[in-house]
């Protein structure tokens, strides 16, 4: 559901319009802002998040392998969602000889501002096979309402 404003459309065919659009796209590409433009990874703070919505809910998903559900902390405060925890599964035995070491352990904490208001009392979270799914019901005030059209 893309919203197209009328002002985005050129009134006449300007040969520079395409260059202008290209410049804008490059600008957005190099702007390190995650959250405004979907489809681009732009964060270094663990965990990476996917956020989607349907009419009544927001869904936040994160891949956090190797962490027990008990070691995860979630909180919603106003419109800020905080996910924090610690991965402690890495063996610390020094006698092991490592061939490859790509898995990281340590603490993580991430706060995101949610795009709409949510009802903090009914937030649900599931953690299955290392994938965290948080379901946040939208606040009543921001749910879409169908407007009936009367015909005479």
């Amino acid at each position: 559901m893309a919203i197209i404003r009328f002002s985005d459309r050129p009134l006449f065919r300007n040969p520079w319009v395409d260059f202008e659009r290209m410049r804008r796209e490059f600008d957005t590409l190099f702007q390190g802002l995650a959250g405004e433009y979907p489809g681009r990874p732009g964060t270094t703070v663990f965990p990476a998040l996917n956020i989607s919505e349907d009419a009544n809910h927001l869904f936040v998903r994160a891949e956090i392998p190797g962490v027990k559900a008990a070691d995860l902390d979630l909180s919603v405060e106003g419109d800020t969602l905080t996910i924090s925890g610690e991965r402690t599964t890495c063996p610390v035995d020094q006698k092991l000889s490592y061939h490859r070491r790509e898995i990281e352990c340590g603490r993580f904490s991430r706060a995101v501002t949610l795009p709409t208001r949510v009802n903090p009392d009914q937030v649900g979270a599931g953690f299955v096979n290392g994938v965290l799914t948080i379901t946040l019901p939208k606040a009543e005030a921001v749910k879409p309402r169908k407007i009936a059209i009367k015909t005479q």
Partner: protein, 133 residues
């Protein structure tokens, strides 16, 4: 070491030799491989893969780890932010050690595969007594 802050690692997509017919994406799981005197242990991060979706194959000296992800979120959702891609996992290794195939153990917990590959015991030197006669 536990005080370290974790960082996001961008997922690397598997470069396959032939193009698969199914439009599915495969990513390279992050692994830890360490060795003791008895065994080689492989840990692989494969979030979203359950016990049934793991396939481990050892042929000659080639070890293949494949994780098939089940379910992929809701279909009727509008994406607002996408910081990671999700898909299946695939990685191949060439083993330098001789592995006892019958004793391989694999466990899957919290999206992490633990694979224990015991080494074949080397033939113990035996002194052969020579009988005089």
């Amino acid at each position: 070491m536990t005080e370290k802050e974790m960082q996001v690692r961008e997922k690397q997509e598997v470069q396959q030799a032939g193009e698969p017919t199914k439009a599915e994406r495969y990513f390279v799981p992050a692994v830890d491989i360490f060795e003791t005197d008895e065994a080689v242990t492989v840990l692989a991060d494969m979030p979203g893969v359950d016990k049934e979706g793991v396939e481990v194959r050892l042929e000659d000296d080639s070890l293949t780890i494949k994780g098939t992800k089940s379910g992929n979120g809701g279909k009727d959702e509008r994406v607002l932010l996408r910081e990671f891609e999700s898909g299946h996992y695939l990685r191949r290794f060439t083993m330098t050690e001789v592995i006892d195939q019958a004793k391989i153990e694999a466990t899957m917990a919290d999206g992490v595969l633990t694979l224990k590959l015991p080494k074949v015991e080397p033939a113990k030197p035996r002194k052969i007594a020579v009988q005089g006669g």
